[in-house]
């Protein structure tokens, strides 16, 4: 089996201790929550932190609390999230996103904080050390060239989190804690479109919780493209949250695409097109055209990129129809290969 590299492990009990460990060696320390992302990455030597700080025993990090909207502790597992009726009823898009992450076993371990901070992915990067050696490594780790596009000045690894696009569409915020204080950041501002420096979280900060604003009058939907009915990371996704008045007029809408760049990508142009209008088939088609324009899929995930781009457009259409109130069940079942998504 592939073995982990050597590292020093700490298991603090409080967030303050976590912050202090991070402050000790910010560039060389990584946080371990569920470990479903970090551990395989460490085995493949993609990430080789000298110090690993485990979050499992940190008090108060796990759980969903009602506030205005609700607050999700970063250590809340995706299974916790999927089993929470408040999330399922009040925030179906988030429920759909979380329920489609990986497999039940992985969701039992993986956390919402971990999914938000998920390392960007690339078929030239998510490989063993020996494999990467055979291509003389890549820009993101140990090498210089981005093999996805050899003239690219920046890394093109793909944002592969399912929950981030949805939380961005929901207008969620995250609380980042460090030894020097804490700050609250919009999920939209947590990311950069750079496969290496994809997070604006500083190396000395720990993501403590996620706050989802009240969902009164909002509808949401998440559509994910992947090869199989379980297991796979998204290779394109569409998250939509909308407030629609009783006449069907869209008062406010946010459309965010996942897995088509190094960060979740919003489409303000498509949002502007829709706001104030009734979501007719024609408008859905035009909005999907416009929104899919921000997707720049590259040849570094599963599936062929031209087709992925086409599918982005389709996914946006499905999500818009979903929030309009269409019965998308059969389509869901065909695409997701499971019936989990018959959510009220």
């Amino acid at each position: 089996m592939i073995r982990l590299p050597r590292f020093t492990y700490h298991a603090p009990r409080t967030l303050a201790e976590v912050a202090s460990r991070l402050a000790d060696a910010p560039g060389e320390t990584m946080l371990l929550a569920g470990g479903t992302d970090l551990v395989p990455n460490m085995k493949r030597r993609q990430q080789v932190p000298r110090v690993v700080v485990g979050l499992k025993r940190v008090e108060g990090l796990r759980g969903i609390r009602n506030g205005t909207g609700f607050t999700i502790g970063a250590g809340t597992t995706l299974t916790d999230l999927v089993r929470d009726d408040r999330v399922r009823a009040g925030c179906p898009g988030l429920w759909q996103a979380a329920a489609q992450v990986a497999t039940p076993h992985l969701r039992n371990s993986a956390t919402i904080g971990g999914n938000l901070c998920l390392d960007t992915r690339c078929t030239y990067y998510d490989q063993s050390y020996e494999w990467r050696q055979a291509i003389d490594f890549c820009m993101k780790k140990d090498g210089e060239t981005c093999w996805v596009a050899t003239s690219s000045p920046k890394c093109l690894a793909v944002s592969s989190t399912d929950t981030a696009p949805m939380l961005q569409a929901l207008g969620a915020t995250v609380r980042l804690v460090s030894a020097s204080g804490e700050r609250t950041v919009e999920v939209a501002d947590l990311y950069r479109n750079d496969g290496m420096a994809y997070l604006t979280r500083r190396p000395d900060e720990v993501l403590a919780d996620v706050a989802v604003p009240p969902q009164d009058g909002w509808r949401s939907a998440y559509w994910k493209l992947r090869r199989r009915g379980s297991f796979d990371f998204p290779v394109a996704s569409a998250a939509v949250a909308a407030r629609i008045d009783p006449e069907g007029r869209v008062e406010q809408i946010r459309i965010v695409l996942g897995a088509v760049a190094s960060r979740p990508m919003a489409s303000p142009a498509a949002e502007a097109l829709i706001e104030g209008e009734v979501l007719g088939d024609d408008l859905i088609a035009r909005a999907a055209d416009v929104a899919s324009g921000v997707a720049k899929p590259m040849d570094n995930t599963d599936y062929e990129l031209v087709w992925r781009k086409k599918m982005v457009r389709a996914l946006i259409g499905y999500a818009l129809r979903d929030v309009r109130g269409d019965d998308t069940g059969p389509l869901r079942r065909a695409l997701a290969r499971q019936s989990l998504l018959d959510v009220r």
Partner: protein, 824 residues
């Protein structure tokens, strides 16, 4: 015989308890005192000369016990006698990314890994051959210094009757090119082994292998040891599918290291390394030219195949023949020409995967038949029913068809699926497709040509009443232990639980050639029946004397031996064994099985013969979204002519597993490679050697499966049984392709059939171009030799070639003739 009590009854398999309670000892579970751990250093270059290997730093590291390089392994080995082209560690040249160069044995894996990093290897890169086109175009540098010419490993050409005349005289000629992408076995258990010296100083190897007998032979050769001083124990395999049928580098290295160190040495491969071991499905480009009468009968088939063999021979010479061998056992083909070419490339070696060489050409044949049916406006089921090969006949290429339940299979899936109401009648986007297949029930010839039995069984009966059955067959998850026990229990009239199976151990068990070519149930089963019948005779004679009942009246059933006319008069089985032991001494019997001789007398005729063939038909339903190409398979109906199911639970499991694997090959699986821009890099790497990114279906992707077993006992099989491990896989891929055509009117003439290929074909159709996605042409630059001409039986042939010139190279083809794929 009396009504079977065990055979045909759905039973819990004999090894089920151990497996579900986690007590089965797989190779990685073998832990021995003082055991060390080994790792292999693998080449990062696709093709390079090894200039220098410096192991001094690694050797000096604490905890490192041994560092080996190619110098330690001067003797080449390989599964087929005609291609002993592997060394346990490369000596001069590395031939693909992943080819092993050096090995470290250390106190633990982490230390071994660190030592690997300390080995310095200097390489001189050589030209990279990434595709068959590359290998056909450039003869130099040669990847191997053997083979037919340049980088062509093997060219074969056989012709049965005048095919050009047959095609010229046809009403229609169909000329189609297909491509079948390579894919791999993906057993859940990664290969592992432990080698040790036993207290006598002899070598013992525990390994997750499907073929302990061949590993035994390879070790004797590669290590220059007497075979009698080597014991190979095949641990139960966590899946094989053909991927554990070759002798592997780590096995030879572990054995050598254990002998040198006199300590146990374990190797456990990573998943990535399993992708490099490969020996999986060959990528095959093929062209079918078929002459057809206006009523849908075939006049002749002219088939060409091109196999991308990867970096070593493996089973490849046999695989090449298999792409052309079995077309004739399903349908009447009066004249047939087959030409096959296998090239070497700088990729992990291809070999036998479930179906071994036959699924690729079966895909082409079944899709072409669908095209023919569509063109002639004949229902594809009827077209096939009209041309099903007759029972008890010889084919154009001298294969002996025994029982054939193909027509009943077709009728069954047609009825079950509602085919007549669905095909051509469903709304746009929904469709059904039909395809058929056949497979060997064991290769008729062994890999190493000799007159010895292919399977042997020994029975030990003693005064405890217990029976132990010894056989070299290997339990790879397919249930061979259960079949062994069932056959013995049936004959002796005892419960399967009262028979113990001891299998896959070259010291303890008689030779069985291994779990490949769907041979175990038929060959081991027949050997087991013979051994059990001999034991029954001994018991019957003793009981007859003791009870004074004529032997002919004695019945063995329910754990007793009794007078059929007075059932109360009898002995318990234990008492019967005691009576026999008292009368004859220690009771032990043997049975063995050798397949019948093939009527084929031409060179190359050794690939394809089998004691009998299984048959399958399947209907697959698909739903295709014409906007996105997204494809869903809701239901598969499948009927399999199994002769007789020994244990229907296992048989159905094999059918369902085949459907699963077939859908993976049809829809997503690809052993695909990536080249970087050549101006910047020579790299040629496996695109995704991981179980996450190599896409194989999950349980959520599985359709509903409606399975029918068609049971008409075949006289060649034990209790009438034929194979079920491989055949049911074959119709799935073409049936999916045919269903896609029925759904949206376009052809995808290659696998995997992906949404983007469907959309591409739809776009081509909309643009007025041919409504298909698939390969454009078959290359013109294959140096075909004059085919070996064999006159078909109905034209007066006797199975011999009329021209003597070898069609397939210079050497005798001994040994490449027989082997087929491997089931689990």
């Amino acid at each position: 015989m009396t009504t079977p009590r065990t055979i045909g009854q759905p039973r819990r398999r004999v090894d089920a308890r151990a497996k579900v309670t986690g007590q089965t000892r797989f190779a990685d579970d073998v832990l021995l005192p003082r055991m060390l751990h080994g790792r292999l250093l693998r080449s990062p270059h696709p093709h390079a000369r090894i200039v220098r290997v410096d192991t001094s730093r690694a050797t000096a590291m604490p905890g490192v016990h041994l560092v080996l390089t190619g110098d330690a392994f001067p003797v080449a080995y390989g599964i087929l006698p005609v291609s002993h082209d592997e060394h346990a560690l490369c000596r001069d040249v590395v031939r693909f990314v992943g080819d092993p160069v050096a090995a470290v044995v250390a106190r633990d894996e982490a230390t071994a890994n660190e030592a690997l990093a300390a080995i310095a290897v200097e390489y001189e890169p050589l030209r990279t051959f990434a595709s068959p086109e590359d290998s056909l175009a450039h003869a130099e540098p040669r990847i191997h210094d053997y083979g037919d010419v340049g980088n062509i490993h093997k060219v074969v050409a056989l012709e049965f009757g005048d095919v050009d005349e047959a095609i010229a005289g046809a009403d229609h000629v169909f000329d189609d090119v297909f491509f079948f992408e390579g894919n791999t076995h993906l057993p859940l258990e990664q290969h592992a082994c432990v080698a040790t010296k036993d207290p006598d100083g002899k070598l013992v190897l525990y390994s997750s292998t499907q073929t302990p007998h061949y590993v035994h032979r390879a070790l004797a050769k590669a290590l220059d040891l007497p075979a009698a001083h080597i014991r190979v124990i095949a641990t139960p395999n966590g899946g094989g599918f053909g991927g554990k049928s070759d002798p592997f580098n780590h096995e030879v290295v572990a054995a050598k290291a254990a002998l040198l160190l006199d300590r146990p040495v374990k190797f456990c491969l990573t998943r990535e390394e399993v992708f490099y071991c490969h020996r999986g499905r060959h990528p095959v480009l093929m062209r079918f030219r078929t002459g057809v009468t206006k009523d849908g009968r075939l006049t002749g088939v002219d088939l060409r195949t091109l196999l991308d063999g990867g970096a070593y021979g493996s089973y490849g010479a046999a695989s090449t023949f298999y792409t052309g061998a079995l077309q004739t056992v399903t349908y009447q083909i009066p004249r047939y020409r087959f030409r096959g070419c296998r090239v070497f490339t700088n990729k992990p070696p291809c070999g036998p995967k479930r179906g071994h060489g036959t699924p690729q050409a079966r895909f082409g044949q079944e899709v072409q038949l669908d095209k023919i049916a569509h063109h002639l406006a004949i229902d594809p089921a009827d077209l096939r029913l009209n041309i099903v090969a007759p029972a008890d006949s010889l084919t154009a290429n001298y294969l002996k068809v025994g029982t054939i339940g193909l027509a009943e299979c077709i009728r069954t899936v047609v009825d079950r699926s509602g085919w007549r109401e669905k095909h051509g009648r469903l709304p746009h986007g929904r469709g059904v497709g039909l395809a058929c297949s056949s497979y060997l029930s064991g290769a008729g010839l062994p890999i190493n040509w000799n007159d010895l039995p292919h399977s042997g069984v020994q029975l030990k009966l003693d005064r405890s009443g217990g029976v132990t059955a010894f056989c070299g067959a290997t339990e790879i998850g397919q249930g061979s232990d259960d079949v062994l026990v069932a056959c013995v229990a049936e004959v002796l009239g005892i419960a399967p639980f009262d028979v113990r199976a001891v299998t896959g151990d070259t010291d303890l068990t008689p030779v069985d050639l291994g779990s490949y070519s769907s041979r175990v149930t038929l060959m081991m089963g027949n050997a087991a029946i013979q051994a059990a019948e001999r034991a029954r005779e001994l018991l019957a004679e003793a009981v007859s004397a003791k009870l004074e009942v004529p032997q002919a009246r004695l019945t063995f059933a329910e754990g007793r031996v009794f007078d059929a006319e007075a059932p109360d008069r009898g002995l318990t089985f234990r008492e019967a064994v005691c009576a026999a032991e008292a009368r004859f001494g220690t009771i032990g019997t043997t049975g063995s099985y050798t397949p019948p001789k093939s009527p084929a007398r031409f060179k190359g005729g050794g690939v394809g013969p089998s004691p009998t063939y299984s048959y399958t038909a399947a209907v697959v339903a698909v739903e295709v979204d014409p906007e996105t190409g997204w494809i869903t398979v809701p239901t598969v109906w499948i009927a399999h002519d199994i002769g007789r199911a020994i244990n229907p639970v296992l048989a159905r499991g094999q059918v369902e597993g085949s459907v699963y694997m077939g859908l993976g090959e049809a829809l997503m699986e690809e052993q695909a490679f990536r080249r970087l821009p050549p101006r910047l890099s020579r790299a040629l790497v496996h695109k995704f050697p991981s179980i996450l990114e190599y896409k194989s279906p999950t349980s959520l992707d599985m359709p509903e499966i409606v399975t029918d077993l068609i049971e008409h006992p075949d006289p060649a099989g034990p209790f009438g049984a034929k194979e079920v491990g491989q055949g049911p896989l074959l119709p799935i891929m073409p049936a999916v392709a045919n269903a896609v055509f029925d759904a949206v009117g376009v052809r995808v003439d290659e696998v995997p059939i992906t949404p983007e290929k469907i959309l591409k074909a739809l776009a081509a159709k909309a643009a007025g171009k041919p409504a298909r996605t698939g390969p454009a042409a078959y290359p013109e630059n294959v140096p075909w030799p004059e085919p070996l001409h064999v006159t078909p039986p109905w034209e007066g042939g006797d199975g011999r070639a009329s021209n003597t010139r070898a069609s397939s190279g210079r050497k005798a083809d001994a040994g490449i003739e027989a082997t087929a794929g491997v089931k689990s």
